[in-house]
């Protein structure tokens, strides 16, 4: 298993957000987390990336427990890419500078040496003519694609996507989902929190339905979407389909 979560618990004060989550993600697998707002999807991703410390349980990356409190999170985060709902590009840097910053600072590679490879990434996602633009000169879809390129530039072993299309205008959602499809085809290991049910059904290997901090039901997309076993899963799917 590339990533294995074992009874992960997380509470904010008196509120339990993750209530014993166990999850396996195989190399090259794409797992979609679905569920209502507040069900714990985003928190789970933030815990995997060590942006939030977990209270109990373990998170294994290649068999090593990365949730060990004494561990330095920095080298682990370098192996895990994360993309956020609100893009979070650095507004004072151009698209290219956004992407160059981490590989240059973390590995000390000179910018000139990084440039061909990074230009290649921009070309692959159709943004080579936007490299010298600042984030506020880009559309939401373009910003989100730059954010994905920025994460990819660190050569992560696994990518986490936190509702990356939720802030986008409907007509811009497609271009970002297309990037995710490409990554999936290339064999990237991915965990997504998403509200894009059609996309999840088409592309995901496995769907996890989160409810009140627990994985209530999981399985291949066909099973979850056609024949959900739990009442809450059925209710949730009925609600999102009617919108």
């Amino acid at each position: 298993m590339k990533l294995r979560l074992d009874h992960v618990r997380k509470a904010f004060g008196p509120t339990t957000v993750l209530d014993g989550i166990s999850l396996n993600v195989a190399e090259g697998e794409m797992v979609c987390l679905i569920g209502a707002s507040g069900s714990g999807k985003s928190t789970l991703l933030r815990c995997i990336n060590l942006l939030e410390p977990i209270d109990d349980g373990a998170i294994y990356l290649d068999g090593v427990d990365i949730a060990e409190p004494a561990l330095d999170p920095q080298p682990i985060r370098q192996r895990i890419g994360m993309v956020f709902q609100s893009y979070n590009l650095f507004p004072h840097m151009t698209a290219e500078q956004n992407v160059l910053l981490a590989p240059h600072r973390v590995y000390g590679t000179p910018r000139e040496q990084l440039r061909p490879q990074i230009t290649g990434l921009f070309q692959r996602f159709g943004l080579e003519d936007r490299m010298d633009r600042y984030p506020d000169q880009l559309s939401g879809g373009q910003q989100q694609r730059v954010a994905i390129i920025r994460a990819l530039a660190m050569h992560p072993e696994i990518m986490l996507f936190d509702e990356v299309t939720s802030a986008l205008d409907p007509e811009l959602v497609g271009e970002v989902l297309q990037v995710l499809r490409t990554l999936k085809q290339e064999g990237m290991t991915m965990v997504l929190a998403t509200h894009e049910m059609a996309f999840a059904r088409d592309v995901a290997d496995r769907i996890c339905f989160l409810d009140q901090g627990q994985i209530l039901e999981e399985g291949p997309p066909n099973q979850i979407f056609q024949d959900p076993q739990q009442k809450r899963t059925k209710d949730f799917l009925r609600r999102v389909r009617h919108h």
């Binding site: 920095q74 890419g81 994360m82 650095f90 910053l101 981490a102 660190m154």
Partner: protein
């Protein structure tokens, strides 16, 4: 669509009428107040005395060159204090963030420091540092009032400047730091390359206002020795038994501070526009 004369829409025509009326009213009102001052103030019983002792043209012309010369000292003290204040202020602001327990004293010191120096009047710090430290019997040149006057200004202003930097750092949304950390940057790199550049940009207008205040407060050093413009004006006042040199000094200060204030306001307005 109904268009009025001159091809204006109804709303545009209405707004133009409104604007014209308010301009006329403002003009008349200003004219009234100014003429009242010009006519009434000279009627005051002491006006002639005030006029000769504060607005004496002859004294003005005679003392202006020397006062301008003395003002260069104010500018010089300002010029070497400002970078020191920026550096110390930033260092103190950052020290409040250190998490390393070895550096805890630094954190504690910076918290106490900002509280103390924001709580004491500048003139008191100037007196205490400017007279107190040379009083230790330091050899020349270490007893110079220039050095200790500068130290007093730097200590006081850095406390304010540090608080402004802190507010800037805190105004950068947590998600920016998280994005930087998620890329594998260290805490200090996230601060240095992601948070701080945005924070500094946001507080430039506020720091400009601190610079303007500093330029004025340089005059406080006159109390401990340096013959800068305020003290030079005092010398002329005694010599000529006339207060006009103080008015000259005020005019010279205004010549610097008014444009600087306008620039700061312009930057603030520009930033507010950029954010909306």
């Amino acid at each position: 669509m109904a268009e009025g004369p001159a091809g204006l829409t109804r709303r545009q025509a209405y707004e133009r009428r409104l604007k014209r009326r308010s301009l006329t009213t403002a003009g008349l009102s200003t004219l009234g107040v100014v003429s009242a001052i010009v006519l009434l103030v000279p009627l005051a019983p002491g006006w002639d005395r005030v006029k000769t002792s504060f607005f004496n043209g002859e004294v003005f012309v005679r003392t202006f060159p020397d006062l301008l010369q003395a003002f260069l000292l104010d500018v010089a003290i300002f010029a070497w204090s400002a970078p020191l204040i920026a550096a110390l202020g930033l260092a103190v602001a950052l020290a409040r963030d250190v998490r390393n327990p070895v550096l805890y004293p630094l954190r504690l010191f910076s918290a106490v420091y900002t509280d103390v120096f924001r709580g004491v009047p500048v003139v008191l710090v100037v007196y205490l540092v400017g007279f107190g430290i040379p009083g230790l019997g330091l050899p020349r040149p270490w007893n110079s009032p220039y050095i200790w006057g500068t130290v007093a200004l730097v200590l006081t202003y850095s406390a304010y400047v540090a608080e402004i930097f802190r507010s800037g750092i805190e105004s950068v949304h947590q998600s920016q730091r998280n994005a930087a950390l998620s890329l594998g940057l260290s805490m200090s790199d996230a601060m240095r390359y992601v948070v701080l550049p945005q924070a500094i940009r946001r507080v430039i207008p506020a720091q400009m206002n601190m610079l303007i205040a500093l330029q004025k407060d340089v005059a406080l050093l006159s109390f401990i020795g340096p013959v800068e413009i305020f003290r030079q004006a005092g010398v002329f006042k005694s010599l000529l038994a006339n207060f006009t040199p103080y008015v000259v000094a005020a005019v010279i200060f205004l010549a610097i501070t008014i444009p600087a204030t306008r620039l700061a306001d312009h930057l603030i307005a520009k930033q507010n526009r950029a954010r909306t």
